[in-house]
Point group: C2
Chain length 354, copies 2
């Protein structure tokens, strides 16, 4: 059996213990035993910084073995916790980032942590400024929210960070993202349960992460039961106007026979699009949901409830997402960071449009 590096160091440890009988164990002793710098020991014992978990464990084990007791008056080892977390948002007025921040703030307050709010308005200079401020205020961690679910480059900081809604492009970072595929799969299952089989999809902006995942999920969920979309998904923009136009394109592309329309359900990439779809269908005298069922996405209530009829849709559960991001951040602050992207579940909200 091959010796691990830790085992290799055991003899050194005994020497150091020998020394510790004469004088109090110093942080440099722990550093020497663990084979790291004193600063890294400080980070490991204070659960700060972004060390590898194996390194942190090795250092803690070394401190335990030496019976090292941090001097509470030692400035360089003083607890750095400010019990404050920075919430960095690209746009606080964003319809998506707000519930995320609200959920995070709520979870943090329950843990006696306060939330510092900062908005970058897509300006790298403002982002750098706010990160500097967060550092000066010794925040324990940072939650970065975004306006879309498109991945964004990581922020430049050595403070623990969790990305909420917009994931980091780095797989080393911890990100929490709404599970669009989960939501759209629930929509398709709901439509199939209601006997709809000729489904068309009207998506939002092409090439956006949310658009692509949602459209792909409709196709995948139909394929699971041996079905397909009646026509390739349409993409346009996130607007009612596009929803209205899409209906005309769709009816042209899927001609029915006699009283039988070529499509019996339309899944939409957002509530705004779905509202445009229902408006246009009403203008054409096509009954929703009798002739065609329509579904939204987002549960943006002002849209979903004002629609005639009110929209069956998917609630993104963004407050849950913010809460989860806060939990992951608290873990990272406590020394057990997460890595990779975690998806949060969505909720089907059935209403009269299906």
């Amino acid at each position: 059996m091959r010796l691990s590096p830790q085992c290799d160091r055991k003899p050194e440890k005994r020497e150091v213990i020998g020394i510790s009988v004469q004088r109090p164990v110093r942080i440099t002793d722990v550093a020497a035993l663990a084979g790291v710098s004193p600063g890294t020991v400080s980070k490991a014992l204070n659960n700060t910084g972004s060390l590898k978990e194996s390194t942190r464990q090795r250092i803690k084990a070394a401190a335990d073995q030496l019976g090292f007791v941090p001097d509470p008056d030692a400035r360089w080892l003083a607890a750095r916790r400010s019990y404050t977390v920075g919430l960095l948002s690209v746009d606080a007025a964003g319809r998506f980032s707000i519930p995320v921040m609200l959920g995070a703030e709520n979870a943090l307050a329950a843990g006696e942590m306060s939330a510092l709010m900062a908005t970058t308005r897509y300006d790298p200079v403002r982002e750098a400024y706010h990160l500097k401020t967060f550092r000066a205020r010794r925040v324990d961690g940072i939650i970065v929210t975004g306006r879309t679910t498109d991945p964004r480059p990581p922020v430049e900081t050595d403070i623990p960070v969790v990305y909420a809604f917009a994931p980091s492009t780095s797989a080393d970072d911890a990100s929490v993202v709404p599970d669009d595929a989960d939501g759209m799969t629930k929509i398709v299952k709901h439509l199939l349960d209601r006997g709809r089989h000729r489904i068309a999809h009207v998506g939002g902006l092409p090439y956006k992460h949310a658009s692509e995942v949602r459209a792909a999920a409709v196709t995948a969920a139909l394929a699971d039961v041996g079905l397909g979309l009646v026509t390739p998904p349409l993409f346009g923009e996130w607007s009612e106007e596009w929803g209205r136009r899409a209906v005309d394109q769709l009816l042209e592309a899927t001609p029915g026979r006699d009283d039988d329309l070529g499509v019996d359900a339309i899944t939409c990439g957002s509530d705004q699009i779905a509202r445009g779809v229902t408006d246009r269908l009403r203008e054409l005298g096509i009954a929703v949901p009798q002739a065609i069922a329509v579904t939204g996405f987002d549960n943006w209530e002002v849209m979903a409830l004002a629609s005639r009829p009110p929209l069956t849709t998917i609630d993104l559960r963004l407050e849950d997402l913010g809460r989860r991001a806060a939990e992951l951040l608290l873990d990272a602050i406590a020394g057990t960071p997460h890595h990779g992207t975690e998806l949060t579940k969505m909720e089907l909200i059935p209403r009269a449009s299906t």
Copy 2:
């Protein structure tokens, strides 16, 4: 000429100066000269607390006369500035409070102040908890935002507070509120300029401050030019559905003759209502704006732009309001608090509906 209290104290001052030759001037000397407690001297010199400006000036003059130099190590006189402001919102997801908070955060960041975010969700226990946290974190001041412009009772704290959007019921407090009457007056002037004289008003929820001020402003602006509403203002709710119903009530209450409708413009209490109004008029085959011009209020773009035709409306300039609240708070922190309610101007956004 009558001696002012300051002049009465001049002999005392000289005595104290005599003492100060033997030992350093103490805060108690300044307190004695100014006729206040040492705590009040501390507040005055640190620009904290809510002292009368005349008191603060008297204390500063006393400190100057005595050549008092605060001991930077003295805890009781240590600078209490944390360069942090608490933003207390009833509901961070509120469509109105968000731009207010954004404007405030922006203005504060420009002044190197950070914003702590806290939401109460209308829960007095949460409000008390957050106020306690703000105090523990020694925030320099607090901005309280609300969901409506209805006055709210003051928060219980001795930290400087400014109320934004929802004013305090106490006239001693500083509040910044959107000038609904200014906005509605601009709407009426715009309609009169376009030759409309037979105006009806569809308001939101009755007894709400915004509903009442907006409806009263239409009446007042028309009275200014010798006109009146064609029918008493209608009140219902802040919804599209109410806007649609209101059209039917209105056309019944104002019967026109032949092709001449009894009304040539409808001012609405919100964009949501106006959107319902335009939708219903289109269903009835009444052309907007040719037969009836329609105006919204709020410039909630998702409503105002999706409306057919897009709505002429009023932008509340809520970021300006938040910025102004931050300015008033910075003044209060600097020792010159404001009192009473300040109104912020609105902006007319003309679009195709007029």
